[in-house]
């Protein structure tokens, strides 16, 4: 009786065991075979906080700080975690409207409901301080620190470039970038992006159910430190740059100043310019649109992207090339008969030096004819293509007709144009053109175009008496101050130094001797050698001047280009160049009256539909 139904104990054991097995199997599925739980756990309890490295600083050649950073804050949101948010209170605290809130939230949700994306970007330190203490009330929101660029002097905007938010193509191209990151969009910021951006760090924080950070995950075992971006030590001379920009006020055009012996760019001005502070922070988009629509195109770096007919400055290159080819001698003389090309009134040049001094058009017409038609073939239609090919080869050695390899983004550089036989064959037909068709090139008109940096480079070549070093803007970069070695090799033109001495003498005479075309550039005690140019084009002529100084052991070479300025190269570009040289060599300009005059002058012909960009401070 006592042990009746004893077999039922087995049934009860089976019930217990079955439940135990069900639990263990369930646990195995949840913990061993399914990693989704782990991912969801990490997503909600861990918050990876990207540590943004400070972007590298940019200095000028004298150690003056040109660009540095300022802290701003991005308010980040994880939409999924904002459940139960007191929207009204949130809007009040943040100072936004309900509509704004909805719009921002929609955008964030569109990116991801699980991952963080910026809700409010670039909040200033002051604004952040006003709601910093209320933030804990809003689940799903947190703050991420970022840095913005600051420019104490509003100079060199085109060279420095600007930083902007990455777009999708940039995210796709480089895994480094995430939505909302910043990247150099132009100028040095772009070309040295990999140096400047540094290495991002990551801190993993544990957050609790109220979205409060409760400490670092695993004592920071998975954290990485951010590594600051490397600095750039540029070749720019900040005071010269500022001075040159002042000279170009109210004008269109550009100035490029280079140290000939090193190729280091001392100043690069493109006018009209803009204050680089305009393209920083939340006002960037608006200002960018405004600058983009400005008909005078202030965003363009004219020194690299604009190509102009070079005008008479081109004659210097023609003179030394012809001498090297042996088609003329230093003492060749040609009559200035104005029958084939026009000229101003001056006596006929009896030598190359005189021809450069007086910038005689018929003289260089004759020179170019001898270069193009060297008599190798009987038919001028065969002879001209040969001559053109030889000539073009020399022109390329001057750096013309190809993109200058300067350390700025190649997309912002134009090659200029030196026509080849294929070009004329296409235009006129094979053997249907000869010197008489293309003679305008001799005086820098016609098909030839040159980029301002190439003009400055031409001045460097004469200053160096036959070679140039690729112009560049950065001397050293990075934490180890790596020298930019690739920019210190000589590019020889293969033309005899003696011929450049003749050209330099001619350029000296241009400024110093009666009958020279740029007497206005004359400064006592500084031997400026220069060459004027007046480039004809649609509208008023462009005023061009290239020069270097001093004549022996030159320290600086300058090219000045003033668009559509009445009066020719000698009148506008030359005196501006001389002021730049005086500023650089003496450190200050004594000719205050001249300085004032050219600063205030506005010689450029007005563009149709000119819209003046109003500057807006951020």
């Amino acid at each position: 009786m006592r042990n009746q139904y004893q077999e039922r104990s087995t049934v009860i054991r089976i019930i217990f065991l079955t439940v135990g097995i069900i639990f263990i199997v369930r646990l195995a599925f949840m913990q061993v075979f399914d990693s989704e739980y782990r991912r969801q756990a990490d997503r909600q309890a861990l918050r990876p906080i990207t540590q943004f490295p400070a972007r590298g600083l940019i200095y000028d050649r004298n150690g003056e700080l040109l660009v540095y950073n300022e802290a701003v804050y991005d308010l980040m949101v994880i939409p999924r975690m904002t459940k139960g948010l007191d929207t009204n209170m949130f809007c009040r605290v943040m100072g936004i409207t309900r509509d704004e809130f909805d719009a921002r939230m929609r955008k964030a949700c569109k990116y991801s409901t699980y991952s963080a994306s910026p809700f409010m970007k670039q909040v200033s330190k002051e604004e952040y301080g006003s709601w910093e203490n209320s933030l804990y009330k809003f689940r799903g929101f947190y703050v991420q620190q970022r840095t913005l660029r600051v420019y104490d002097k509003p100079i060199a905007a085109h060279v420095l470039g600007y930083v902007g938010e990455v777009d999708q193509s940039e995210i796709d191209a480089d895994k480094f970038y995430k939505q909302g990151d910043y990247i150099g969009k132009s100028g040095l910021e772009k070309s040295y992006e990999e140096v400047l951006r540094g290495i991002k760090g990551k801190r993993i924080m544990q957050v609790d159910v109220h979205n409060r950070e409760i400490g670092s995950y695993m004592n920071g075992a998975y954290d990485t430190m951010a590594v600051e971006g490397g600095n750039l030590y540029t070749t720019l001379d900040a005071s010269l740059q500022e001075y040159a920009e002042g000279l170009m006020a109210n004008k269109r055009g550009c100035i490029v100043a280079i140290e000939p012996s090193t190729g280091e760019v001392l100043a690069m001005v493109s006018a009209p310019g803009y204050d680089p502070n305009l393209l920083v922070g939340r006002v960037r988009g608006e200002n960018y649109q405004m600058l983009l629509q400005d008909i005078s195109r202030p965003l363009l770096n004219r020194a690299l992207i604009e190509h102009y007919p070079p005008g008479s400055i081109f004659k210097v290159a023609q003179a030394v090339t012809a001498l090297q080819l042996g088609v003329i001698t230093p003492n060749s003389g040609f009559v200035c008969d104005k029958s084939l090309v026009g000229c101003h009134n001056h006596p006929s040049a009896r030598s190359v030096q005189e021809a450069i001094k007086m910038s005689c058009n018929p003289y260089f017409y004759q020179v170019y004819r001898r270069v193009i038609q060297q008599g190798k073939y009987k038919s001028i239609y065969k002879d001209s293509p040969y001559g053109l090919t030889v000539w073009r080869d020399y022109m390329l050695r001057f750096g013309f007709g190809q993109k200058m390899g300067i350390d700025l983004p190649a997309s912002g550089i134009t090659p200029g144009f030196i026509p080849d036989t294929a070009f004329y064959n296409k235009r006129y037909g094979r053997e249907r053109w000869a010197f008489s068709t293309i003679y305008s090139n001799s005086i820098g008109q016609g098909e030839v175009t040159v980029v301002p940096i190439q003009m400055a480079n031409l001045a460097c070549i004469v200053a160096n008496r036959g070679y140039y070093i690729t112009p560049h803007l950065v001397r050293y970069y990075g934490p180890d101050s790596v020298r930019n070695e690739e920019f210190y090799t000589k590019h020889e033109t293969g033309i005899n130094k003696a011929y450049f001495d003749i050209a330099a003498n001619g350029m000296y005479d241009v400024v110093h001797v009666a009958g020279g075309t740029a007497r206005r550039a004359n400064i006592p005690d500084i031997d400026i050698c220069g060459k004027t140019g007046t480039a004809q084009n649609i509208g008023e002529d462009h005023s061009v001047f290239i020069c270097f100084a001093p004549k022996e052991k030159p320290k600086i070479a300058v090219a000045v280009y003033v668009e559509n300025a009445r009066g020719g190269g000698g009148y506008w570009a030359a005196p501006i160049a001389s002021l730049v040289i005086e500023k650089y060599i003496r450190g200050e300009v004594t000719r205050k009256d001249v300085e004032k005059m050219y600063r205030e002058a506005a010689p450029c012909q007005k563009l149709p539909l000119t819209r003046v960009a109003k500057k807006k401070k951020k």
Binding site: R2, Q4, Y5, Q6, R8, S9, V11, I12, R13, I15, F16, L17, V19, G20, I22, F23, I24, R26, L27, A28, M30, Q31, V32, D34, E36, Y37, R38, Q40, A41, D42, Q44, A45, L46, K83, Q206, V207, D208, V209, H210, I214, G215, Y217, M218
Partner: protein
């Protein structure tokens, strides 16, 4: 003759107790309060409860075990009295009216109703002249179980009331027809399937009809009138049940109970739509993220950050799952199953019917707690807030379970000396 206390049970009890306290310590771990005995913290209080429980256990093992048998009805009546008192003076905690305040400590009589009922049932069922087949016997036995359960339901503590279903197992062991268990199982299955099917419940009726017809005309060799009537009656009962499920679900169950069942059946979105769904979702995440070996003691990211509510009490298993992983969770479950098996063994070796019934009651009560608590944490059962025995935070439950277990161990010591 007195034998030594069963050391296997004692060891398992101690192991579960220590492991449980470690997990409470982890669940409410706070860098600022790491002192082990700090009565402002949960783990500090629990340590106090453990101390008190050990004292209680020592007392129980040193008194005459026959006292429990002789005082069964008295204890039962006192507890029923307390339960009724709670209805009038109790404080409301988490929607349940089941606590009596004693200064800063609270006391939950429903926890003690379990062992009191076990004693009374054992006492009644072991009466010498009892004939279980009589209707009167059945009614009294069921009355003993349903009376405290009913009062607890009035306290809105459905979870604790549900535990009284565990007495089905000792009754079954003593000769109750297994049909009741089977009917109960079938009812649960029909209930769940009906809810899952929603408006397509006719499919279920059709399937049942097909089974009935197959049974009658296919498998059955000897077809008598009695068989026809039986099968038809069962089919009719099932159909009626199916059509009354909706009514019962809507009218009898509370909204939060419906919610919990819907969450379990996946009819609402776990993550967002309801608090219950959120809790279960967090519980599953915590356990699932533990992996094979767990994140390590005090290193849980979900439980540590308060994502799981009630994690020191009803959801304590999450901490085990997250910090100790599959290995730790499995070991804990095996420890519990081992304890239950040991209790069955002990119950079977009792010489007195009272002790055996009481032993089975202890095992069954622990089992039901285990089943519901872990089943809920794993998302297999609806959310029903009852503690994990010897493990969850809470003085009343720990003391009640300790008393429950040690009364049995004490009787086991004296098993050769029955009343």
């Amino acid at each position: 003759m007195e034998t030594k206390i069963d050391w296997v049970t004692l060891l398992l009890y101690a192991a579960i107790l220590v492991f449980g306290w470690m997990n409470i310590y982890a669940a409410c771990y706070d860098e600022a309060h790491t002192a082990i005995l700090d009565l402002h913290t949960m783990h500090g209080k629990q340590l106090l409860w453990i101390g008190i429980s050990v004292v209680i256990a020592l007392i129980i093992t040193h008194i005459d075990p026959h006292i429990f048998s002789s005082m069964s009805y008295l204890i039962y009546l006192v507890v029923i009295g307390l339960l009724v008192v709670v209805l009038f003076v109790g404080t409301v905690t988490k929607g349940g009216l089941s606590w009596i305040d004693f200064g800063s400590f609270k006391f939950q009589p429903s926890e003690f109703a379990k062992f009191a009922t076990a004693l009374a049932l054992g006492k009644y069922m072991s009466s010498l002249d009892l004939d279980y087949r009589q209707l009167r016997t059945k009614l009294i036995a069921w009355g003993l179980i349903l009376l405290p359960a009913g009062i607890i339901i009035l306290q809105h503590d459905t979870g604790s009331a549900l535990v009284f279903a565990s007495f089905l197992l000792p009754l079954y062991r003593e000769g109750m027809s297994p049909r009741i268990l089977i009917v109960g199982l079938v009812a649960v299955v029909l209930f769940v399937v009906t809810l899952l099917l929603g408006k397509y419940k006719l499919i279920l009726v059709g399937v049942l009809a097909a089974i009935a017809l197959l049974y009658l005309f296919g498998w059955l060799n000897k077809r008598t009138r009695k068989h026809y009537i039986w099968v038809t009656a069962v089919f009719a009962a099932c159909t009626l049940f199916i059509f009354s499920v909706d009514f019962a679900f809507e009218k009898v169950l509370q909204p939060h109970q419906r919610d919990r069942i819907y969450v379990l059946l996946g009819k609402t979105d776990e993550k967002t739509n309801s608090t219950t769904g959120y809790n279960v979702y967090q519980s599953k995440i915590a356990i699932g993220s533990g992996g094979v070996f767990g994140k390590g003691f005090l290193k849980g990211t979900i439980t540590k950050a308060d994502f799981v509510p009630e994690q020191e009490t009803d959801f304590i298993f999450c901490t085990v799952g997250e910090e100790w992983g599959f290995v730790g969770s499995t070991l804990l479950i095996l420890a519990y199953i081992g304890l239950l098996f040991r209790l069955v063994t002990l119950a079977e070796r009792q010489y007195s019917k009272f002790s055996r019934i009481y032993g089975y009651s202890v095992a069954s009560i622990l089992f039901l707690h285990l089943f519901i608590n872990i089943g809920m944490a794993l998302g297999l059962l609806p959310v029903i807030g009852i503690p994990l025995p010897f493990f969850s935070y809470g003085g009343s439950s720990l003391m009640a379970f300790t008393i429950l277990l040690f009364i049995f161990l004490r009787q086991d010591q004296e098993r050769t000396n029955p009343i």
